[in-house]
């Protein structure tokens, strides 16, 4: 019996102590006709050796294609120490740190995480993480409604560069709460919010993503100041790697964003088909009591020594029940542990090197690709490590042809931004070598028509 230590003698003695004749007796309070005979749909047990072989085959089957997809999840180098440490049993197999004296490792790690992430975002307070970036937008929207009580519209305006999936997720999670998400119009020339911003719509919050989903830089200062003039809170959606280079949300406009959220995955978490990742959330001090999720505080123990504990728990479901700020209880503890170790290893200078090299690689890639006939940049402005390209033909067949050559060529923007035409979003992080980039350019040239290189 896998993972069950009982010998036959153990079982017999234990049943005797209980006063039961058999294991079946232990279930005598369950109506008999509910008890089933077998689970035919579950296969027979496998040994560790057999399942190892099976999983290796399946992992191998998925291959190791050269991946230039970003669109919210990014391939970065993860130092070996990160997961070596994070999967130590003491981190991996611990519960939520409710018993503070027995959980100082997890608690201090999260306190350090909170420090790092507030530093990166330029805001005052961080929680211990949410599920992922997309669901963090839902939590931020609910938090904005709770905080900004003057505004009763429930209207959240989204800059055109907000990840369309985030909007879908936030809509699904908040669907019965009287919250609506509406998009500000896009200027098709820049990919950013159009010049004339609406007046008098009384949004409760405005969400601004930087860099935008199609890879542009929004004028965050203008949007932030406008949103505050409208009486709205500002929700910044960030990529943590980019904050090694870009102005942090706490410094947007004259007052700074009020809440920052984002996908934490780039900080040492593998792509892993989409999860587990973690959601970043930080905010201004004055909003802390409306923040969902766990928060760790530093305090002292009976001997006056420094220690760490969950704090402000009065906001949470296990205390407040139906009046809680959210039903959330799990955060993504292990992912935050990994991210904290990652940030400690790379430091600010390392993170800036990662960001800069990613930017440079993307520049090289875009220079190479736009040298091919039928491939142009969609927008002219500056970018971080992701750029939207315009193809002279539908994107999907091009991506399929590239995949056959072992290149995952980017994210097809056609369905989420139909107005942009045949648009392809490409990304090259620091993990890509010159040879990788050359391989993509060669494959793209081949797919688009080998001899069609521009002469200019």
């Amino acid at each position: 019996m896998p993972f069950i230590p009982h010998t036959d003698d153990d079982t017999r003695e234990m049943l005797e102590t209980i006063g039961a004749k058999s294991l079946d007796d232990l279930f005598d309070e369950i109506p008999r006709d509910l008890i089933i005979d077998s689970l035919d749909g579950v296969p027979e047990a496998m040994s560790e050796m057999a399942i190892t072989r099976l999983m290796r085959e399946r992992a191998r089957q998925d291959g190791a294609p050269l991946c230039f997809i970003g669109a919210g999840a990014y391939e970065h180098h993860i130092p070996q120490a990160v997961w070596d440490l994070a999967t130590r049993g003491e981190y991996y197999s611990a519960y939520t740190p409710y018993q503070a004296e027995a959980s100082q490792g997890t608690l201090q790690t999260i306190y350090e995480y909170q420090t790092m992430i507030t530093e990166l975002t330029g805001l005052d307070v961080s929680n211990a993480s949410l599920y992922d970036g997309a669901s963090a937008l839902a939590e931020a929207a609910l938090m904005a409604v709770r905080s900004n009580r003057k505004v009763k519209t429930g209207r959240i305006l989204l800059a055109p560069g907000v990840n369309p999936t985030y909007e879908k997720v936030a809509t699904a999670i908040t669907r019965t709460q009287g919250i609506t998400f509406e998009r500000l119009p896009m200027d098709p020339a820049t990919g950013n919010a159009a010049a004339g911003l609406p007046d008098g719509e009384a949004p409760v919050a405005v969400a601004i993503q930087q860099p935008s989903f199609p890879g542009t830089f929004e004028d965050v200062d203008r949007l932030t100041d406008w949103a505050h003039e409208q009486g709205a809170l500002v929700i910044a959606i960030i990529n943590p790697t980019s904050l090694a280079l870009l102005k942090p949300p706490g410094q947007w406009g004259s007052e700074g964003a009020d809440i920052a959220i984002g996908e934490g995955q780039p900080l040492g978490v593998p792509l892993s088909s989409g999860g587990p990742y973690f959601g970043i959330m930080t905010c201004k001090q004055k909003l802390v009591r409306q923040m969902p999720g766990r928060i760790i505080g530093r305090t002292t123990d009976l001997d006056g020594n420094t220690g760490f504990a969950l704090t402000l728990q009065a906001r949470e479901q296990h205390i407040r029940r139906s009046k809680a700020t959210s039903n959330i209880c799990t955060n993504q503890g292990l992912m935050v542990t990994a991210a904290t170790i990652y940030m400690s290893l790379v430091g600010f200078h390392g993170l800036r090197s990662v960001a800069t090299r990613s930017h440079q690689n993307t520049t090289r890639l875009v220079d190479g690709l736009t040298g091919i006939d039928g491939v142009d940049r969609l927008f002219d402005g500056p970018y971080f490590h992701e750029v939207a390209l315009r193809l002279d033909r539908p994107v999907a067949p091009v991506l399929e042809a590239l995949a056959e050559q072992g290149v995952l060529g980017g994210y097809d923007l056609t369905s989420s931004y139909p107005d942009l035409g045949n648009a392809l979003l490409v990304c090259a992080t620091e993990t890509k070598t010159d040879a990788d980039i050359a391989a993509y350019v060669t494959a793209m040239a081949d797919v688009m028509g080998a001899a069609a290189r521009k002469s200019a």
Binding site: F3, I4, H6, D10, F27, G41, A45, M46, I51, T52, M55, R56, A59, Q61, D62, G63, A64, P65, I69, G72, P79, G89, Y92, S93, T96, Q99, S103, T106, T115, D132, A134, S135, V169, A172, P248, S272, S273, G274, G275, P276, I296, G297, T299, T300, L302, A309, H318, N327, T330, N331, Q332, I341, S344, V346, H349, G350, R352, T356, R357, P382
Partner: protein, 492 residues
């Protein structure tokens, strides 16, 4: 050796300006072409440390944790069973960790096949007809479940059905979820033997009933004996039944929520299917549904078809499921956790599923009998324990001034993690104890000895008000933590 106080030194305090873990960043990047107006001008405070310093710092921090791998962890309602190492290492194979979530399914057939088979196994174990793996924790599974119930009523012309019935013993997430979805949580009391009070239930159901959220076996550690009657009352009133799968380990392979008439269930894969708790996540809250709620499942789900004569796995998303309550995560939920659950279920296998319930229940009933015989009072002495049970210390609290909190802290000094304390709220001075099937008889016997020793010492006049003494820190000042909020390091 560092003293206990300096052991809480932060990584920032170990930093030195200019120190680097040189191997961990690209070499010699030059400047970017990004215009200055977009750039940050300040330098955020991140650690500046060597690789060894970082490794040593987090190794030592980890050693301050209690964990399943180092201690018995009888934390009721949390199912702290052994997390097999193979589940972790196989989920971390490069082919899985390197796969981009938006990569084509042609480069994901191995992964998707695991996910499809996981869906099928979970359907079989729960007796439901559909499974969606996307919820990222139990609480999100609950959210999905109640959202589906709401969507069902709305599409059947009953938007007024907005009351969710919740037993008073339920997890706090249940009423919090109901509120999050714009529903009213209506509490129904528990009777003296731990079953829901049927007469009270009949009194609260009505034309506004959306459904009931039920944990069975309940958070009181007993099986709801009137489950068929509960089902009938709620269904007759037009409500749907939600099964909170927090305690699925107690009945796994034995009884199926689908056979009990439930319309929707969430499973805590980090409990029953042994994915790690990770110090507070990631969880994974896959949901299963019956026929009525099938069209409303959250997306994406994995489907099996055929292509060029061989099996082919693909996503089912918006276009194929127009009634879905939508997406709950950026991609497909906690995929890596799902892989761990998949490996676990394959290793446990068909017959093993029932063994989980049998031996979890054996261990709980054995520990319950031993503690009762040692003089501890059970909250429900006339009931079988499920996979967990409740000891109430109301007499010890009154006569010896020994509270549940004191026992919890005294256990830490004896190198046991504390049971769940003060939950469920309706049993005074309670310890909710869940040993799980992976613990040996010797461990349980030693735990009984520790409990007896604590009670004996209390009887002899020992106070545990200031315990623990041997942990890395002693009782912490929670009031100070909340009043003098210090939630980030700021160099002085």
């Amino acid at each position: 050796m560092e003293t206990s106080n300096s052991m809480s030194t932060l990584i920032f305090e170990k930093s030195r300006k200019g120190r680097r873990a040189y191997a961990q960043a690209p070499l010699n990047p030059s400047d970017t072409s990004i215009p200055e107006s977009f750039l940050r001008t300040d330098e955020p405070l991140l650690p500046e440390a060597s690789e060894l310093q970082v490794v040593r710092h987090y190794t030592r921090l980890s050693q301050k944790n209690f964990s399943i791998d180092t201690q018995f962890y009888p934390l009721g309602s949390c199912t702290m069973k052994y997390n097999p190492r193979a589940c972790n290492s196989l989920a971390l194979l490069p082919g899985f960790t390197g796969r981009h979530p938006l990569g084509p399914v042609s480069h994901g057939q191995g992964f998707l096949k695991c996910m499809w088979e996981l869906q099928e196994m979970l359907k079989e174990v729960t007796g439901m007809v559909g499974v969606s793996l996307t919820p990222m924790a139990g609480a999100q599974g609950e959210l999905a479940g109640v959202a589906m119930i709401r969507a069902y009523h709305e599409e059947h012309g009953h938007p007024e059905r907005d009351e969710i019935i919740v037993p008073d013993a339920a997890h706090g997430t249940n009423p919090a979820t109901a509120t999050m979805l714009g529903c009213k949580a209506v509490e129904v009391p528990t009777g003296p033997d731990g079953d829901v009070e049927l007469e009270a239930l009949k009194g609260v159901v009505g034309p506004n009933t959306a459904g009931i959220m039920l944990t069975n076996p309940s958070t009181l550690g007993v099986f709801e004996r009137d489950i068929i009657e509960v089902e009938r009352v709620v269904k007759d009133a037009g409500g749907l039944l939600y099964y909170d799968g927090a305690n699925l380990n107690a009945i796994c392979g034995m009884v199926r929520p689908g056979d009990m008439g439930f319309d929707v269930i969430h499973m805590n894969l980090h409990k029953t299917f042994s994915t790690p708790h990770g110090g507070g996540g990631p969880g994974s809250g896959a949901i299963g549904v019956g026929e009525r709620l099938l069209p409303y499942m959250p997306i994406p789900v994995v489907t099996k078809t055929e292509k060029d004569g061989s099996e082919w796995y693909d996503w089912v998303a918006e276009d194929d499921m127009p009634h879905s309550i939508g997406r709950l995560s950026g991609f497909m939920g906690n995929a890596g956790v799902l892989l761990r659950a998949y490996v676990y279920m394959r290793m446990v296998g068909r017959d093993g599923m029932r063994r989980l319930a049998e031996y979890a229940t054996l261990n709980a009933n054995y520990l319950q009998a031993r503690l009762r015989d040692a003089g501890f009072e059970l909250a429900f002495p006339n009931r079988r324990a499920s996979h967990e049970f409740i000891v109430t210390l109301k007499h010890e609290a009154k006569e010896l001034n020994l509270t549940a909190m004191d026992v919890a802290k005294a256990l830490l000094d004896r190198n046991y993690h504390a049971p769940t304390t003060y939950f469920p709220l309706l049993v005074p001075e309670c310890l909710l104890i869940e040993p799980t099937e992976t613990e040996s008889k010797e461990t349980l016997d030693n735990f009984v000895d520790a409990m007896v020793a604590i009670a004996t010492e209390a009887r002899e006049g020992q106070s545990f008000k200031e315990a623990p003494y041997k942990t890395p820190v002693r009782r912490l000042d929670d009031v100070k933590a909340a009043r003098e909020l210090d939630v980030r390091y700021q160099p002085s």
